[in-house]
């Protein structure tokens, strides 16, 4: 007999047990693993899609921001350029003003220098003139300059115009204070007496005279009474001399100003 019915039953049972075991240990875990993997792949793909979308969004945003930034930068640059231009203009103006001021100051300084020079020349000239005059007078008349001055003054008093004399005489009569004679130096008693006499003779009266020393008179003598004045001093000569010196300085400045190269005029050709 080829068929053993016990074996048939046992094999059928074995087979059913095997079916259950294989389901338990093979098909279920394998299919589960495959499903899990598929789910995972789907999830990863979805995640990748989401990330891609997000990246696209971020890229767009970034581009947008970049454009905005470019615009802002251009605006700022334009603003900065304008400001720089304005600042440049301002600085140029300031520099121009400063240059003008400096030039003005320089001119002022030059003017001051010229003035000081004038003063110095004037002083020096005055001293020189005195020295020369004194030396000359001493050499010629063997008398001091002051004496000569007193003499000149007394001579002028005497040779005074009648109109001036009358004016002075009126003034002397109405004056309550004594006549003031101011001089740059202390007059010796002789000269005082000479001046007193000259005044008395000129106005034909006994006039009370008060002598005073005033160094600002620059070597001269002055008679003052009730608003009237008779004076002689070297200052007059010095003033005229100063004018002369000024003219000399101006003449000296002119060539400096005109010291610019001039185009040479073509010379006419001479044929021989």
């Amino acid at each position: 007999m080829l068929i053993d019915w016990f074996t048939v039953g046992a094999q059928a049972l074995n087979f059913l047990i095997l079916v259950w075991l294989m389901k338990r240990f093979l098909y279920k875990p394998i299919l589960h693993a495959i499903d899990e993997r598929e789910k995972r792949i789907v999830a990863e793909l979805a995640n990748a899609d989401a990330k891609k979308a997000e990246a696209q969004k971020e890229s767009n945003e970034f581009q947008h921001k970049n454009e905005e930034f470019d615009q802002q930068r251009a605006a700022l640059l334009s603003k900065a350029t304008d400001e720089a231009k304005a600042e440049r203009q301002r600085l140029l103006d300031e520099a121009r003003k400063a240059a003008v001021a400096l030039s003005f100051k320089r001119q002022e300084t030059l003017r001051n220098d010229a003035h000081n020079l004038n003063q110095a020349i004037r002083r020096k000239t005055q001293q020189e003139v005195f020295a020369i005059a004194r030396k000359a007078l001493m050499d010629l008349a063997a008398t001091s300059l002051e004496e000569r001055m007193s003499e000149v003054f007394t001579r002028r008093l005497r040779e005074m115009d009648d109109t001036i004399k009358e004016g002075l005489a009126d003034a002397l009569k109405t004056a309550s204070d004594p006549v003031l004679v101011r001089s740059a130096f202390d007059l010796p008693a002789e000269q005082r007496t000479a001046i007193q006499n000259a005044i008395n003779e000129t106005f034909s009266a006994e006039i009370h005279v008060r002598f005073e020393t005033a160094p600002d008179l620059i070597s001269g003598i002055e008679l003052t009474t009730n608003g009237q004045k008779v004076a002689w001093s070297i200052a007059d000569y010095l003033t005229s001399m100063e004018k002369g010196v000024d003219e000399i300085l101006k003449e000296k400045d002119k060539p400096i100003a005109k010291d610019e190269p001039k185009p040479e005029e073509p010379k006419p050709e001479t044929k021989s």
Partner: protein, 231 residues
């Protein structure tokens, strides 16, 4: 000469006996279950996985695909039964390369048991899918006259399943043993290799036929759509 491993009995107590068929079946079961357990113990759900896992996935997905191609849409329902049928028969054939091994499928008792399992599984799945009435009605289609023929068909195909597998497996083992006595060199090896091929083909045929029977039983007959008239 033994025609069947049933004849090699290790232990017997009255009706109960422990023959080579049962012992080798247990051995195969042990190999299959332990192997599966070992491989599926550390399954990876990621993209990186072991070679053994890849092999098992290919086998399982291949079986599933074959079941789907036969016409069973919900293949996972039938995977346990049909897949185990294929794996058991295939493993029984593959192990013939081991000296001293007798394939349990070379015993008519085993093939009959498997065929009976199919014989029971067909109405089981049919009724589960269609319901009792609908399934039983399929026996009287297209006419009542067909009922005995359908019943005979059911029985005969079960017998055919059992005998086909038994014949092939037994003949393979028989040829090798005969060749061993005549030409002990070279030829038995070639025949063993041929036997392996035959075994795999038989495993495929057995499981595919079972799938076809189940598919025939579970298919809900729907009226064919009418062809559209041309205007």
């Amino acid at each position: 000469m033994r025609l069947s491993p049933d004849e090699m009995i290790f232990w017997q107590h009255g009706f109960f006996k422990l023959n080579a068929t049962i012992v080798f079946t247990w051995g195969l079961m042990l190999v299959l279950v332990v192997g599966s357990k070992l491989i599926t113990r550390k399954l990876s759900t990621g993209l990186k996985r072991s070679r053994w896992q890849n092999l098992l996935e290919i086998v399982v997905l291949g079986i599933e695909k074959q079941i789907e191609e036969v016409g069973l849409n919900q293949s996972q329902k039938y995977l346990d039964f049909l897949g185990t049928l294929f794996l058991f028969v295939a493993a029984a054939s593959l192990c013939t390369v081991i000296p001293g091994y007798e394939p349990p499928t070379g015993s008519l008792s085993t093939t009959a048991a498997l065929a009976m399992c199919v014989f029971v599984a067909v109405p089981f799945f049919g009724i589960k899918e269609q319901g009792v009435g609908s399934y039983l009605k399929s026996y009287v289609k297209p006419t009542f006259i067909m009922l005995p023929f359908n019943i005979i068909s059911e029985l005969s195909r079960t017998l055919a399943l059992a005998v086909r597998l038994f014949g092939n497996m037994m003949s393979g083992a028989m040829i090798i043993s005969i060749l061993l006595t005549i030409t002990p060199f070279i030829f038995p090896i070639i025949m063993t290799a041929l036997g392996l091929l035959t075994g795999m083909v038989q495993a495929y045929i057995f499981s595919i036929l079972a799938a076809v029977y189940i598919a025939a039983a579970t298919r809900v007959r729907e009226p064919k759509p009418k062809p559209e008239r041309k205007t």
